[in-house]
Amino acid sequence: MTRRQRRLALIGSALSVLAVAVALVLGALKDSIVFFNSPTDVAEKHIAAGTRIRLGGLVKEGSVERSDNLRVRFDVTDGKNSIRVAYQGLLPDLFREGQGVVTEGTLDGGGLFKADSVLAKHDEKYMPKEVADALKKSGHWKVDGDKSAGADPQGRTQ
């Protein structure tokens, strides 16, 4: 093999690995990303039943309803609109009425959001940022004086 051929082989293999990587990334970006929506977004955008989304907002006071086998239903609200969420499983430590929450799952035909994961990615001070933005947009944001920037990197709860 000449020097030229070797270089071509090297560049060729580099490009093919890169092409595979790009194809994988683009494919995954098409299929496996999930959009965040507030209840108002859901109402306005007419999201199709079965599309996987994240739904975030506040857990409406007095809306949490538990039944057996760890089934729970609650309303997620942004002050303007609210959506009923059904979930089965353990709720995170910081799940409380009146607190911010992000849920992930799909809407069924009847307007019920079937969540398969509930995240409370915040502590008492820290509101999930998507939720804070959604609340600001709907005009229900209360400034509580605490700074919310700089969430602890290990403060993640899933």
């Binding site: 090297l10 690995v17 999930v34 965040f36 086998n69 430590d93 940022k129 700089g150 290990q154 899933q158």
Partner: protein
């Protein structure tokens, strides 16, 4: 009262001034070839370390004495907190963690000054100067935007306490390890930039850089593993890797550093891939910077962190542009001046190491895209998305699995050009063992996912393939045991290092496959007196007890664990409440059985007295972290190799022999 906080503040300002001196004088000396000016670097680096250590110590004292007149202490500490968490709480927040960062940076600077005696004077002067550019920027960043020494008037009586989730021994170990890893890569960066400034680079350069990169890599490996184990036991969800931006931020420099280690071998032995190695050194530290900053500043979770604190956000952006952009620009200008190195055939040790680099960097790039794409999209369109595990599983693994398959081949391939078929034949034994592994798993698991046996097979292949190299080099199966043992002792430590690091990789893979594919989970609501079973274990819920800790109260559930009727122990998961913040944590209980674990954590306590529990059986889970430990041991063995410490450059062969026969 002694104004210790102010003294710390002044020490940091002095360190800044010293850093400025160290940034300019040695580099000017190197240009003028003035040995006096160049020799300024080392003592100044030591003095800088002294002042930073003093400043850091001052902050620690403020925490230990619970001096709440210091805002940073007030916001992150509490007088009732155990001493250990008062100390670790220093780096549990943005300002304090930046102090830890510069402390480690100055330690590395001092180490280069002390141990760099065999470096050429000009290279040493330039390296220390570049190192000091980084230090200067960081001191300035801390002093202008993240000063931990500011006072609060009047001083509050009690602090706000540290987030309870951080009150864990994990915080004592994980961030320092990770930071040593991040910051250690700054040395490789400084060496790369110094080489570019001089416009000259040779195999000896790689020999000087390798130990520093290796050291950083070992700490990074340990830090990531430790963080993963911490998340695993503290979060109560049984997961050990979430593809969270925070984790990705540490994984990316790790992959770049791993690539750098491998390409530096080629450079050292064969004087090839020089330009590439320099680029990797710049990239690895760039990813460290991105990791430190984007995570710590909260930018990664929100573009709006820029808006809420514009000075800090802008400063961070400036630092990133300065070092990453500057480094790459310098590279673009100077790299063409560097001489090309030795030739090699595509199928050769060099070729294998290039392949390693290609796959590692592609995987790294896919993680990079997945981590930063949501941020870019939100900044551009306002649309909010989440990129989670599905994205990374479909992009990372297809790029990483071929790499794992290639790992056993690498060390067996000779330099320059190789016979792939011959190497494949030598790996037949390893492959046979892997096939036996596949068959056994298949028989044991029956109808499970077809991928599982093959994943086990791959892990066994990686491990036995790594052992093949040692078996062959010592002639273990051919010569008497004593001879083989003597040969094993005679092998260079770096060869053992490779074997251990590769075995560790296989061991971690075994753990990952075992945990993700063979684990089982049960969720139930239980009352005292009831039992739950998983695999062959029966857990009996005895009772609930309330207890008082130093700064929390907890409700613990006591379980008796039996296996086939035989008592094996008790598990006590609990829920803790921390009155100072009004928050709580869930403390899961772990029971180790061999290398597997039972994992039990509590959910909500219901009004009727029942409690939700989450129970996992996690076979092989400990191998995930044990594999990382084996990798670190491998790194340590390689680091202790004589050739990295003594003597002049020793090229593998003379130049004449290096020309490959066509």
């Amino acid at each position: 009262m002694i104004a210790i906080a102010e003294l710390g503040h002044y020490a940091l300002v002095l360190a800044l001034a010293l850093a400025l001196v160290q940034s300019c004088v040695p580099i000017y000396g190197a240009r003028r070839n003035d040995p006096v000016l160049m020799s300024v670097a080392a003592p100044v680096a030591l003095a800088q370390f002294g002042f930073v250590a003093f400043a850091f110590g001052a902050l620690v004292i403020c925490y230990v004495t619970s001096d709440f007149s210091v805002i940073n202490v007030f916001e992150n500490s509490h007088s009732a907190k155990p001493l250990i968490y008062k100390i670790t709480g220093v780096w549990g927040n943005h300002e304090g963690s930046m102090m830890l960062w510069v402390l480690i940076l100055s330690i590395f600077g001092a180490l280069v000054a002390i141990f760099g005696t065999n470096l050429p004077a000009r290279l040493k002067a330039n390296v220390l100067a570049v190192q000091s550019w980084v230090a200067f920027t960081f001191y300035l960043f801390i002093l202008t935007t993240s000063n931990p020494f500011f006072r609060l008037e009047p001083a509050p009586i009690e602090g706000r306490d540290l987030n309870p989730i951080l009150q864990d021994p994990g915080l004592a170990i994980h961030p320092p390890l990770l930071y040593v890893g991040y910051v250690g890569l700054s040395i490789s960066f400084s060496f790369a930039v110094a080489a570019l400034i001089e416009g000259r680079i040779d195999a000896a350069w790689a020999r000087w850089v390798r130990p520093w990169t290796l050291l950083a890599w070992m700490f990074l490996t340990g830090g990531i593993a430790m963080g993963s184990y911490w998340a695993y036991y503290t979060l109560g969800w049984g997961g050990w890797w979430f593809w969270d931006p925070v984790e990705n931020a540490s994984l990316m420099p790790w992959m770049a550093a791993t690539a750098l280690l491998h390409s530096a071998v080629v450079m050292e032995k064969r004087n090839a891939l020089k330009v590439w190695t320099i680029l990797l050194a710049i990239l690895a530290f760039s990813l460290s910077l991105v990791g430190t900053f984007l995570v710590r500043s909260g930018v990664l979770t929100s573009v709006h962190a820029f808006a809420s604190d514009p000075t800090r956000g802008l400063f961070i952006l400036m630092i990133l542009v300065l070092f990453i952009g500057g480094g790459l620009t310098l590279f673009a200008i100077r790299a063409p001046l560097l001489k090309q190195g030795g030739l090699f055939a595509p199928i050769s040790r060099e070729g294998a190491l290039v392949l390693n680099n290609l796959f590692l960097l592609s995987a790294c790039a896919s993680v990079f895209v997945g981590t930063l794409y949501p941020l870019a999209l939100e900044a551009l369109t306002g649309e909010k998305i989440s990129v989670g595990a599905p994205f990374f599983n479909t992009t990372f693994w297809p790029l990483f699995i071929p790499l794992l398959f290639a790992v056993p081949f690498g060390p067996l391939l000779p330099w320059k050009r190789a016979d792939l078929l011959g190497v494949a034949q030598r790996l037949l034994g390893a492959a046979a063992l892997a096939v036996i592994g596949i068959a056994v798993t298949f028989a044991a698991e029956g109808g499970g996912p077809i991928l599982v046996p093959f994943a086990f097979g791959l892990a066994i292949f990686v491990i036995t393939g790594a052992l093949t190299d040692i078996v062959e080099r010592t002639g273990l199966l051919r010569v008497p045991l004593g001879t083989a043992f003597a040969r094993a002792r005679g092998l260079p430590r770096s060869a053992w290092g490779t074997v251990f690091a590769h075995i560790g990789l296989g061991v971690t893979l075994l753990g990952i496959v075992g945990e993700t594919q063979l684990g089982t989970e049960r969720i139930a609501e239980m009352k005292p007196g009831q039992s739950i079973s998983i695999r062959r274990y029966d857990l009996h819920f005895d009772d609930l007890v309330d207890r008082q800790g130093p700064n929390y109260s907890e409700t613990a559930a006591r379980f008796t664990v039996r296996r086939g009727g035989e008592l094996v122990g008790t598990m006590e998961p609990s829920k803790r409440t921390f009155p100072s913040r009004g928050t709580g944590t869930t403390e899961s209980a772990l029971m180790t059985r061999g290398v597997g674990q039972l994992y039990l954590s509590l959910g909500d306590l219901n009004p009727d007295g029942s409690i939700a529990v989450r129970l996992y059986h996690k076979p092989l889970v400990l191998l995930i972290w044990l594999g990382a430990v084996v990798m670190v041991i491998g790194g340590g063995l390689s680091l202790s190799d004589r050739r990295l410490r003594v003597g002049a450059p020793k090229p593998a062969r003379s130049k004449a022999v290096m020309q490959p026969a066509e």
